[in-house]
């Protein structure tokens, strides 16, 4: 008998919970909603910033959808999104929008510390990654096979790398394909002949903390977070929020929040470089 009573009680609770959830979502539907679409590089960061923004502004919901920088531009232009996201500078014909920089993204080429090669130019890196140069001797180094470390498809670091060196992923002759930055650093640490690329923030930190790697300068500019922040480093790009005209209301508040020092730790957690202030 008591079993029946218990189960009735449980069903009662479940019903109450469902009703509460229903009421809750009804309340949210009335709330203010901010839609962001665009770059899949920025989307994870925007999602995190959105969560904190929601916490600070009860009743506000931030909806983030990825689909590429170009979608961000188009959606912001036609009003499908309140705020667009683009992981590049605006093109000439996109100047009808206003770009609000929230962070910088930069990658650095890393070699093992014991590798005597201290710099490479773009053509040499392209030749290494397409398999035309396969031994460090051809670049003034020791007689050692080159191990090419590439990123897995879909990563923003891969996208930035390919874009800078004007390569397509199928052209690359990789020996090791990695997922995250840490795996890249460990792979280079374990192989004197390896070459890889990772987020500059991570590499600079690990190099400073005794990992036997060294970051290569690009076109004579040292690979440092400071140079990425200043926009001097060639292998870097701005992460922008886009608005049609001067932002107002909720969009304005969100963009200001995303540019404030309050999100610096979120930016760093995604291996991006916070703004100079």
């Amino acid at each position: 008998m008591s079993e029946v009573g218990d189960s009735q009680k449980i069903w009662g609770w479940i019903l109450a919970l469902c009703m509460a959830a229903g009421l809750n979502s009804a309340a949210l539907a009335d709330a203010q909603k901010l839609v962001l679409t665009g770059s899949s590089t920025i989307a994870p960061l925007a999602l995190e910033i959105g969560k904190h923004f929601e916490k600070l502004n009860p009743g506000v919901r931030v909806d983030v959808q990825s689909g590429g920088s170009t979608r961000g531009v188009i959606d912001a232009r036609v009003g499908l999104a309140d705020v667009g996201m683009a992981s590049r500078a605006l093109k000439q014909e996109e100047r009808d929008l206003i770009a609000h920089r929230i962070a910088m993204d930069g990658i650095g080429i890393i070699l093992h510390q014991k590798n005597p090669v201290k710099s490479l130019n773009d053509d040499q890196i392209r030749a290494i990654y397409t398999g035309k140069i396969t031994n460090w001797q051809q670049l003034g180094g020791e007689d050692r096979k080159i191990t090419v470390v590439n990123k897995a498809e879909g990563r923003s670091t891969l996208e930035l790398f390919l874009h800078h060196f004007l390569l397509k992923n199928p052209q690359i002759r990789a020996h090791v394909v990695i997922g995250d930055n840490q795996q890249g650093i460990k792979t280079v640490v374990g192989n004197v002949g390896a070459i890889g690329y990772v987020s500059i923030g991570t590499a600079e930190y690990e190099e400073a903390h005794g990992m036997p790697i060294h970051l290569l300068p690009m076109a004579g500019v040292p690979a440092t977070v400071a140079n990425v922040r200043a926009g001097r480093f060639p292998l870097s790009r701005p992460l922008n929020l886009l608005s049609k005209g001067t932002p107002t209301g909720l969009s304005k508040r969100f963009i200001e929040f995303a540019q404030s020092a309050a999100v610096d730790d979120l930016v760093t957690a995604q291996y991006f470089v916070p703004l100079a202030r």
Partner: protein
């Protein structure tokens, strides 16, 4: 009461499995229907951004890594079980078993980390890049060795004492007893242990991801870097959208099919031992 609870839990597990399968099929549906299932086995290779979803190279890599690991781990595991059952001095049996149980319980990511920082550099010094089919095989073999040793030992322990004593009474040497009586009588148990281990090698993700190099290619030598199906899902799922995502779910279906066939085989083996 107990019958109802256990029955309910068993039912829930079955329903859960059904739901997982349904999710896999539903998520992979667009690419299964849209392009036909043949696109997973023809084409230039795995280039999801240009709509090429040939899984064959990764399927071969998965099977090669599993087979290689079994070729190493099964003989070693069975030998270790034979040693602890028939040759080991009494005081060594328990410590040996403890070590095996401990080894079987180490999380795979720890094996992976060890592989990445010790094994891969070692192989790289010999034949770069180091991250290769060979390192995947060695790590997997190390992971399944304790499982095989423990299941083989249990199978050997289950051989009726009267059989062993009878063989001894007939004047068989210890070697003769092991090879002629104990191992044949325990073969079904050993085989089902090996099948269990095979399923683990097929499903292992993190350790292989860290040491195998993850280049999508059909392995031509032990030193070639390869990418297995599970590693592919783990590497690309966080950033996959549309057809790419659906193709990853489809490779999950493929893995599930392979494991189901193995489980069915294991069931057949078990049924034969009961007959």
């Amino acid at each position: 009461m107990l019958a109802r609870v256990t029955g309910g839990i068993a039912l829930a597990v079955a329903v859960l499995l059904g739901l997982v399968l349904m999710l896999l099929v539903r998520e992979s549906w667009p690419v299964l229907v849209g392009g036909g299932w043949t696109r997973f086995f023809v084409g230039d290779g795995w280039f999801p951004s240009s709509g090429q979803f040939n899984l064959l190279a990764m399927l071969w890599a998965t099977l090669a890594a599993s087979l290689g690991a079994l070729l190493i781990a099964v003989p070693l595991g069975v030998l270790s079980a034979v040693f602890s059952r028939f040759y080991s001095p009494g005081w060594l049996i328990m410590p040996l078993r403890r070590v095996m149980v401990l080894l079987a319980g180490i999380p795979s990511v720890v094996y992976g980390l060890w592989g990445l920082t010790v094994l891969v550099p070692l192989i790289a010094g010999w034949e770069p890049p180091g991250a290769s089919l060979l390192s995947a095989i060695l790590i997997l073999a190390l992971m399944i060795l304790p499982t095989i040793a423990l299941t083989s030992e249990a199978a050997l322990a289950a051989v009726a004492t009267s059989n062993l004593q009878g063989a001894a009474a007939l004047g068989l040497s210890r070697k003769g007893i092991v090879l002629g009586v104990a191992l044949p009588a325990a073969r079904v148990g050993i085989l089902s242990g090996a099948l269990l281990a095979t399923m683990r090698t097929l499903g292992e993700t993190m350790a292989v991801l860290m040491v195998a190099g993850n280049v999508v290619q059909t392995p031509a030598s032990l030193f070639d870097p390869v990418r297995v199906l599970t590693a592919n899902i783990a590497l690309e799922m966080p950033y996959a959208t549309g057809d790419h995502r659906a193709a990853l779910f489809a490779s999950g279906v493929l893995l599930m099919l392979i494991v189901t066939v193995l489980a069915w085989l294991a069931g057949c083996v078990g049924a034969r031992s009961n007959a």
